[in-house]
Structures are given as structure tokens and as C-alpha cells.
Symmetry: C2
Subunit: 198 residues, 2 copies
Amino acid sequence: MLVGMADRSYHHGDLRAVLLDGAERTLADRGTAAISLRELAREAGVSHAAPGRHFKDKQALLDALALSGFERLRAALERCGPEGADTETRLLSLARAYVGFALSHGALLDLMYARKHESAMSARLATAVSDILDLTLAPIVQGQADGEIIEGDPFTIAYTVVSTLHGLATLSTDDTVERVDEVLHEVVRTLLHGLTPR
Amino acid sequence: MLVGMADRSYHHGDLRAVLLDGAERTLADRGTAAISLRELAREAGVSHAAPGRHFKDKQALLDALALSGFERLRAALERCGPEGADTETRLLSLARAYVGFALSHGALLDLMYARKHESAMSARLATAVSDILDLTLAPIVQGQADGEIIEGDPFTIAYTVVSTLHGLATLSTDDTVERVDEVLHEVVRTLLHGLTPR
DNA sequence: TCGCAAAGTTGTCAATGACAACAATGATGG
DNA sequence: CCATCATTGTTGTCATTGACAACTTTGCGA
């Protein structure tokens, strides 16, 4: 039985990652409150105190999970970026990626933006949020260079865009994918052209 | 000692409300995980099982708290509405109220939109969200009637506006009030006039 | 190879949420 | 007026949990 090296001796070798995986699964289908260090330990085939070697706290594990979420969200946003395209295409692509992440990792997104992280970790999380902001900054600056986006502090504009995407992603939970994509188009259109008649 | 009728006999008379108040205080300064039914009971001067008479579950208490949050948010949005004003003024007012709520009740807002409520309660919460949406629908419809807002499904437009406000409110936690108000203006301006040059 | 740090183990403790069985209270209707 | 009975609170108990302390195994590097 080489399956997943189920029978290791003493040293697990990969416990930290296994704990994070298990925590994310529990988070996704039973919520944050259902995450139990002891249960994760049992599932990993390890003693109840073993998780303590990798996470000083339950909160430390949640923080690590949040950080991992930010890294994956950033990767998804980076991956989706057609750099050469026009501003509308780029924004639509970003919006789809963000909302897509929210739809498939809703509970994780909640955790990522939860206002309860440890102070030591919150600096790293702030950096992670800032990285996300930077990813939307690029299309804005490019758009301004091309004359497709109005003048103004690009940081503020990017913040506006991220706010909108994040709000949309947060609210897009119960609706169907079709409905979400419809609203998503409208949101990007509004961002670019506004609500007032031209 | 008549202070707060500290010595009632057997029947507390107001336990449910006291528990909710205590839970909200704990939520605000120590986070959701720190809410303990037993601790709330102790603070209320009541036995450890008494909360069970009012909330079948810890989750039931959290759900009730979320619902109360939605009611207060709705009240704040209703209260702020200068009905006669132009669209920009109304939207700015709504945005200030929403972000103001987020700044003073951040953890509660997280709880309100947390993806983990009981199915029985989630219907009521969905209604609460829908009520909020309705409040932004009014200015949109009015704006359309006045020719200040473009044609189009007012529900979709309102959804867009709420998304933006909610995203802004969610992200406006660490920043200073001045910064928030600056971004808030930019967001409303963008909503109305768009990011592309005219 | 010796020593030591990393990683895992057992044992324990107080706190918690949930539940069951019981008691006090006060409202209602006969 | 008072018997009944639902409401609300109480005590007792249990399994689970997070945290910690003390100890062991492992493997790496000086």
C-alpha cells in the first residue's frame, strides 16, 4: 500500500499541509466553527497534540488558511490577465476570476476578510490584500496611458474597482451562475460608463 | 441596590435581549469565536443552561444577532434618505450610512453576511438582504424618472450599487475616516459618471 | 558519533455546548 | 379563587475541545 504513504513512522513529513487541507474541507462544508484541531489530527492519523507543533493556536491555523486563500486568489487574478486586451476586457476578466473564486471558495473568502486575525499575521494579510490591489492597478494605469480611463490617482481608482469586485463577489452566493454573469457584465459596464446618461 | 434590578426572582424578564447585547459586545471586541453561552449566562447572572430557553443553539443566537444587525442597518439606511434630493446626494448619503455602519459594527457586518446560517433562519436573512436592496431601488427608480439615471432593469442597477457599497464597506476597516470619505466620494462619482473619459 | 532541535506522543485540565430531569413562576380559564 | 400548565430558569452530567506540560523518537549536522 503505497497509497498516500498511509503508514509512516513517527514523522508524518507533510502534516502541516494535510492539516490545512482538512481544515479547508471542513470550512467549506461545515463552517469555521466546525474546524477542530483534534478532529484534523484524527483524520491525519496523528495524536491530538501534534497540530500544536505546526500551529501555536487554532487561530494560527485559520490565519495560515486565510493567507493561503489570498495566495490562490492572487494567482487566479494573475492567471486571468490578458495583458494586451482593452480595459473593458481586462476588467471583465478580473471580475469573472474574483467572482469565480468567491463561488467556489465562499467560506474561505469570508475567512480571508474576517476581522479577527492575530496581529503578527495581520501584517502579512495586509500585504496580501495590497497585492490584490496591485493586480487591478496595472489595468488602470495601462488604461490611463491609452486614454481609456480618466485621469486621477490610480490607487484610488483601483481601490474603487476592487471594492466593487469584492462586494459583487460577497453578494454572489445564492444566485445562479447565469444571473451572476449577467450582473457581472452590468457591474463592469457601470464601472466604465457610469449610471448617468451620456 | 436598585441598580439595574440586579436581584430579580427566578424570572429574569429580559434575558433574551441581555444575551444578545452581551454577545454583540463580545463579538465586537473579541470576535465570534469568543462568544460563549455560559459566559453570557454568567454575565446575565443566570444559570449556564438558561440561554437554552431562548436559543436552541449557539448558532441560533448568532443568527438572531445577524438579523438584528440587518434591522439596524436597514434603519440606518432609511433614516439617512433625503428623499427630495438629487441622485448623487442620495447615493452619497446611502454610501456614508453603509460605510458608517461597517466602521462601527465591523464584526457584526461580517457575521451578517457569513455563509453559515441555519436554513430556517436563512430565509429571514435573505428577506433582510432583500429589504436593503429595496432601499437602494427607490433612488434608482426616482433617478430614472428624472432622467438622471440610464434606462435598464432597476433591480440589476440596484444590485450593482449595493455590491459596490458593500465592497467598500467591507474593505474600509483599517483606513482612517478621512481616507474612507475620500474614497467614498470617488466611488459614488465613478458609479454615476464612469471611469472612461466623456 | 554525539548532541540537539524538530516533530510526535501521552496525560491532564478547565471550559464549553448540549441535553435531561426537575422546580418555580405566573397566566388562563373554569 | 384556584387548578392547570406552558414558560422560563435550575442543577447535574457528558463528550469534546484547546491548551499546556513532560516525555520520546527521529534524523541532521558539527
